[in-house]
Amino acid sequence: MLSIVYKNTNSAWAFLALLVVGCALHALIFIWRIPVYYLPDLILGIYLIYKLPDLNQDVSPLFFVGLILWLGYYFFSPPAPDTQYTNNFFVVLKPFLYLSILALYSKNDPQWSLRRPLTLFLYLYPCILLWNLFLVRLQENASIGQLMNTRPFFIFENNFEITFYLNCFAIVFFIYQQKQVQYFVLAALVIILSGSRSGLLSFAAMSVFYFLAVSWRQRIVALTLALAVVFYIGKGRNITAPLNSIDRVQSLQAILDHYHNSFWEILSLPFGHGIYEKIPGYICIRLPDFAEWFTGNSHNCDPLMLQAFYSRALFQFGIYITILIPLLFLLLVKKEMGWKLACIVLTPMTCVAASVGGFSNGLAFWGILLSLYAFEQVRQVNPALTATPAPTR
């Protein structure tokens, strides 16, 4: 393992040091349950402040679109009834903020090369997942069967982390053009270890891009691996169960019922119900335990309990803005990287938005931002690289 890492990163010691730090950090979070949900946003904030003096770039007019949407929803959403709990509306506003950041900081990459840390992360993350399983085994004396049903993580629920991991994979494979099959194997291993269904969805979508970019021999390996992953997750997480039994599908159905399953009724609410509006009580009751899980109170029906970004956005932003958000992300990333890479880079975030967080998740946004920075750094080294790169085959 070390020799492979050394061969690809020239830094086996750095790998070992980072592994120890990563495992220690994870052990801290695992044992003391430190709240880290806003950690990526905190790091993002620190980075933005740190890099503010380096701000010097052409800014897309979409910066103002993001800003206007952010301010518009914050100031003009109708307030929720006084007898209801306040929503966690800052999370809801995050996509607009991310859009503005993406437009304003797209070329403000760090001074040091991202190549080595991102490549190292591809090796590190599966090791940390294994470390998590080891800790679970120590703490709960879990058997192998129980461990296979565990959802290992580094700092969050792994659905969020996999989005970031797949972005790192995309950077190394499609931007740095390091086309070794081992990265795909590592990605497949991560999906197997994590047991994540939304991760599987993102991985399947990424596999298509991978499949189109490699030789026939690698395609066979990829296909076999992808099938193995589907089989393993399918068996472990019961993806063959009726779709209606999946909580994300249930919440989407509940929201569609709220509009009487009428497309015209959905269209008639151009800006949704706003960011302060609670989920109607009868929907809340239909999804038992969700409110308690999210807010600790079964009477606090925060729309965040509609986990899937699209369901929540449909209710709070309305259909037009829900569609606009991924489009704006695509336009901004496409401006820098071209259509093909933009589609690849945005695939994990778009897929995971059907299940959790998505466009309002800080770690997923970091994945996009790092992809832009990695591309920018590659372009600085090789100015011939334009927004429409040569075919990756």
Binding site: D58, V59, F75, P81, D82
Partner: protein, 219 residues
Amino acid sequence: MKIDYFSCLAWLRRHWKTLILFEVVACIIAGIYLFVTPPIYEANFAVSMPKVQKKDITLESATQWRLMVSSLDFMRGLQNPLNYSEGLIAGCMGQDSNANRKQLVKSLQMGLMSNGDVLRFTLRLPLKEPTAHCALLLQELVLTQLTQVYDETVAKVGAQLILDNAAPSTKFEKPGIAQSIRLSDSFIYPQIAKVFMFALILGFCVGVFVILARVKYRV
């Protein structure tokens, strides 16, 4: 559009006085707005729908509760400005006019609670006392209309039972108050902090626009 940190900083240093002036003006306008705008209070109440227990056609022995009128249909009826009596409009809005009728409907938010058998009403009007009074009038109207539906259904189902010579085992549930009128602790609108924040942002934007326009057209 090119944005450069140091150019922006230099530009701000050059024009900070004008920007401050616009911010002060915006804050004064916000203050006037807050002074002039009547505070909006909120009243919440909920009413349970009348129900009838009917035999399930598929299972002979089983019965189930059904609403006598669809909650959504009833809500739609209340969204019609002509559904309200002159007395209610005068009591809520001061005088009966078409504009006031539409305004009342706009001030009233309705939603479903429980399993869709409870209607929640949120009324937002200027000043505390009129809001409480109007909520009371609305609650009476809703209860009257629902009681009417209840009486009609009971009479109809009762006649049907006599015709069918069936045992009067069918049960009914009257409409009632599920949650009594509750006023907001203080006014909910305008929100002072938000108005000033908005004024500061708007003042900044207008200030930037005016400075840029002045530079462009050399005023």
